[in-house]
Amino acid sequence: MSEPLLQLRDLRVWFPIGDGLFRAKRQLRAVDGIDLQVAPGEALGIVGESGCGKSTLARAILRLVRTSGGQVLWLGRPIEGWSTARVRPLRRDMQIVFQDPLASLDPRMTVGEIVAEPLRVHARELSRAERRERVIDMLARVGLPADVVNRYPHEFSGGQCQRIGIARAMVLRPKLLVCDEPVSALDVSIQAQIVNLLQDLKRDFGMTILFVSHNLAVVRRLCDRVLVLYLGKPMELASTDLLYAQPRHPYTQGLLAAVPVPDPDLQPQRLGGALGGELPSPLAPPSGCVFRTRCAHAVAACAELAPKLQSVGAGHEVACDRWQAIQTFGERR
């Protein structure tokens, strides 16, 4: 395999909570020990529910949030300790698309200015005309006509705003595109348009995509591999086919069983198998395996040792010490 574009080694992002005058501060372990390798050109989905740390992880990779431990290796070089100034040139190669399409666009700037901003920072050598040409070209590739450059974000719908956000992120042809819930705030009929657009751009530009989402159906469509997170820790990491067809981790199984399917012959029965319990407070995660409080298969040993990702087959890792005893979908024991 060629050199990975991005590597994470035991990455941790902890936030101190409570900045009073007293020393004792609790730590919110938003991301708690992630090991990951991302190959160039692959689409990796990062899924989980609220509090799992997926958005924080995405921002930590982009150095928008300070890491608390571990390493972020970009093209082999550890960048987690670099100053903002030193990271700046890297930004042309790693970009992000946000969840709220309208909020991610400065309301006082025209669309043209918004999409041109990365060019002004990283491609100063371009003349104004050249910049304009690149902006219009990128806007066309995301399906927007040239005359949007003089308009303001509030004049557009959610889907169109998201296209503008994607154009801005892509105008420098980055190597890595991080998408943080890019379709969650959009109407269902528009989601498919944006998913298709991302697929097209990936095919045309060959960039690596990190797709952060709680929408497992979209992730299945778009991604090659999937990482499942829970309370900041990895639960399962597998190729898309394996994860959806034969999930090994009880949390993944519960998650997949909970996603509704628009089929009235299947869905009513699926409701009965809902994963019980509540998400524990991220400030006081359970000892050992963080998922054990909701796990039907938990035993006493689960409270003692936090399981690490271990291989259960080619391209399939699970953070569960009891995986062999747990049936997966379609398996007969």
């Binding site: 903002t84 992000i96 666009l105 006082r108 006509p145 509030h154 348009q193 657009l197």
Partner: protein
Amino acid sequence: MTDQAMAAALPAGAARGFWADAWRRLRRNKAAMVAASLIVVIALLAFIGPTFSPHAFDAIDWDHMAVPPGGPNDHWLGTDRLGRDLFVRTLVGVQISLQIGLLATLVSLCIGVAFGATAGYLGGKIDNLMMRFVDILYSLPYIFIVIILSTLFERGNIYVLFLAIGAVGWLTMARIVRGQTLSLKRKEFIEAALASGVGTPGILARHIVPNVVGPVIIYATLTIPQMILFESFLSFLGLGVQEPQASLGSLINEGAQEMESAVWMLLVPAGFLVTLLMCFNFLGDGLRDALDPRDR
């Protein structure tokens, strides 16, 4: 997903920028438009009006002292105790008051925006330090500062007045801008700019300041009458403009002393002052409604 389908859905008509929308909303607010027109009329009158009168603002007319409005010798609004034409003096007073109000507001705006945006954006210890500095200044009695300043420099020096008043007025502006900056800081488009590699000065100049302009304009418009009033108060106390210069405050001071015998000497400048203050307040309220960024 065809381009035609895309284009068909685009908003028709010319690009409607933020300012164009705001202007449209403001035009619909009758009170604000009347107030704005009145301010313009009074300002024009103040600067051009005195040329229509044969009298200079400090010319003493020995024959027509303390004459009521409609008096002889073209004293349209009467004269004061020393026989100086009240029409011209009042308009000169308006000139001074407006200049002081606008310039002091401008000074407070520049300092306040720079200070507040920086404190709000940088956050942490720097923000803490900067705002505690503001708190300390706030607690100082500004009257004393002005008194000290005016005794250090020559009394009645208009520029000292601008400085003193402006130096006091920026505090609230800084707080407002800091508050706005704090809420803007969390918005995703700031994060997007950071992700694009824009540095702190760039973010402050191109993203923060243009987005706080709305509240700044509103507050500035409401600050102008406060500045005028403050100057009037100082002049009323004798700390402001000195004879023979006149501001609305000094005129009101003189008029108050003659209230019982020559009530017009109070009513004329007071009338102008009250009208100006009301107009600025109405305009400020109208601007607040027009510029309030509401989600569609």
